[in-house]
């Protein structure tokens, strides 16, 4: 693959679009969740104000170098995930820095921010953060398992590790989507998706009603603003991974917005319908319900 400088401004532009889309979409989904609870919900622009407010705080304190780096790792996890995968299929402008083996890198990036965050939260010294980290890592580890299985099944099916090729293989009408050619893998992956979106039933790690909100307990001001920004980017980037692998990718921004919204809505929908799992319950749930379809998907390919 040859590298062209013009790709850098294009990548920044796509980052900008995704950030704004993420800010608005997550607010909209929160609003939908509020409507399900018969509330009016936050204003659609609330996320922007929250981030601005957090950056406007005058004091902030640190607990050490790793505490600084926690949000940085988290942000680079989200941005990296976005930059190394094709956003719009067939578009010179928005294919970012995708290359032949990017699927592995993407899988790694999904986990990367989590680990950085765990280190940073660990240095904050708050016992609540430590509890949050141990809960979070055990849950994420088990929820990554079905995703990894599903990704391997898909890679086997299309005989490639490049996301662009996988999207290309799904371009013969909607019946050629992985969703229809390999439903078991998609089921396993969607179960895993629920686990990683931090919504009920799997949100015990970050739920505000829990022991002070887990790993970010000590984070505040611009640290928190960086993490909020990442959350918006990461949510969209992660859904784009799913869209590319399982739902035929997108050939223009409009299609991307719609698909991302619908896939994201799936987790929100499950979220408002179900109460919360404890961590050991959710670990068991993943092992019992999400891993077998993943294994079956690999065996059947």
């Amino acid at each position: 693959m040859d590298f062209e400088w013009i790709k850098i401004p294009y990548a920044l532009l796509s980052l900008f679009i995704v950030l704004n889309y993420g800010l608005l979409m997550t607010a909209l989904v929160t609003k939908i969740g509020a409507r399900a609870g018969r509330r009016y919900g936050i204003p659609i622009y609330q996320n922007y104000i929250d981030i601005l407010k957090n950056m406007a705080l005058r004091t902030s304190l640190t607990h050490g170098v790793m505490f600084y780096l926690g949000p940085v790792f988290r942000l680079s996890g989200g941005v990296g995930l976005l930059l190394f995968m094709p956003l719009i299929f067939g578009s010179e402008m928005f294919s970012n820095f995708s290359f032949a083996g990017d699927l592995m890198l993407v899988l790694y990036f999904i986990f990367f921010g989590m680990l950085g965050m765990a280190l940073g939260a660990g240095e904050s010294g708050s016992p609540h953060a430590a509890i949050g980290v141990s809960r979070g890592l055990s849950q994420v580890t088990t929820s990554e398992l079905p995703l990894a299985l599903a990704v391997f099944a898909v890679a086997l099916q299309y005989q490639t590790l490049s996301i662009t090729d996988i999207v290309a293989a799904q371009q013969h009408g909607w019946t050629s989507w992985t969703l229809f050619t390999n439903p078991l893998a998609v089921i396993a992956a969607m179960f895993s998706f629920l686990g990683s979106m931090m919504r009920p039933p799997f949100d015990i790690v970050l739920a505000p009603q829990e022991i002070p909100i887990g790993p970010p307990t000590e984070y505040h001001s611009s640290y928190l603003a960086a993490m909020q920004t990442n959350r918006m980017i990461f949510a969209v980037a992660k859904v784009v991974v799913y869209m590319n692998l399982f739902f035929g990718g997108a050939s223009n921004w409009f299609e991307l917005f719609i698909k991302v919204f619908l896939i994201y809505l799936f987790s929100a929908f499950v979220g408002v319908c179900f109460p919360r799992f404890r961590v050991e319950q959710s670990v068991r749930w993943f092992l019992v319900w999400a891993v077998p379809p993943g294994i079956l998907a690999i065996l059947l390919v």
Binding site: Y40, G41, R58, T59, L61, I211, T217, E218, H220
Partner: protein, 213 residues
């Protein structure tokens, strides 16, 4: 002073002996300083607007008035649509609602939580107990006037105030913040000695550093 907070000598794994002073080791000793706003008034105005529209309340129910905060989150009042959210940790919150009577024991925790919040931070006193002691005015273990101990931006009167009163209190607070008058953190820093003296007068077993960063 609690036993675990006293100085002690510890022998390290390599035989080195050193002294541990928990109060110094676990806390920063720096006292608060006055923090000025941005140099450009227009930036400060924008920030104040953002601060007023994103109020994160510390979810720490200190007295019976805390009951009134719960309906605010539910469909009938739904404070979220005004940009008000509840946070479980003082680090991320900027409004401390002291919801009613404050026993001396709780005051200690309140002071600690307040000092951990990042400035600019606001305090709202809820109910007559925070104003004049309310029906606990002659009690031996509650404080009578909240602003002797913390800089209060706003009181909401009543015993207990209805959720509507609390909501209109929040709206009034927003106005104060937008006008740039929500500078309680700076008042606290300026009159630090006075506040500390008042706090230490009622808190007998003072076993924390003077400022809990």
């Amino acid at each position: 002073m609690k036993k675990e907070l006293e100085k002690r000598t510890v022998t390290g794994p390599d035989g080195q002996v050193f002294e541990v002073d928990p109060l110094k080791d676990y806390f920063c000793e720096a006292t608060p300083t006055v923090q000025t706003g941005e140099y450009l008034q227009i930036v400060e105005d924008l920030f104040n607007w953002a601060r007023s529209n994103s109020i994160w309340v510390l979810g720490f129910g200190t007295g019976c008035g805390a009951i009134e905060m719960r309906p605010l989150m539910t469909p009938r009042f739904d404070a979220y649509r005004y940009g008000v959210q509840w946070r479980a940790t003082p680090r991320q919150s900027n409004l401390f609602i002291v919801s009613g009577y404050l026993s001396v024991k709780t005051l200690k925790r309140v002071v600690r939580a307040y000092e951990q919040m990042q400035s600019p931070k606001y305090v709202m006193g809820l109910g007559s107990c925070t104003i004049n002691g309310g029906m606990y005015w002659d009690s031996y273990n509650t404080i009578k006037q909240l602003d002797d101990y913390l800089p209060v931006d706003l009181y909401v009167t009543g015993c207990m105030p209805r959720p509507e009163a609390l909501l209109s209190g929040i709206e009034a607070l927003k106005k104060i913040i937008r006008e740039g008058r929500g500078e309680g953190a700076n008042i606290y820093a300026e009159r630090f000695e006075w506040y500390k003296a008042n706090q230490k007068k009622v808190i007998q077993d003072w076993d924390m550093p003077d400022y809990n960063w």
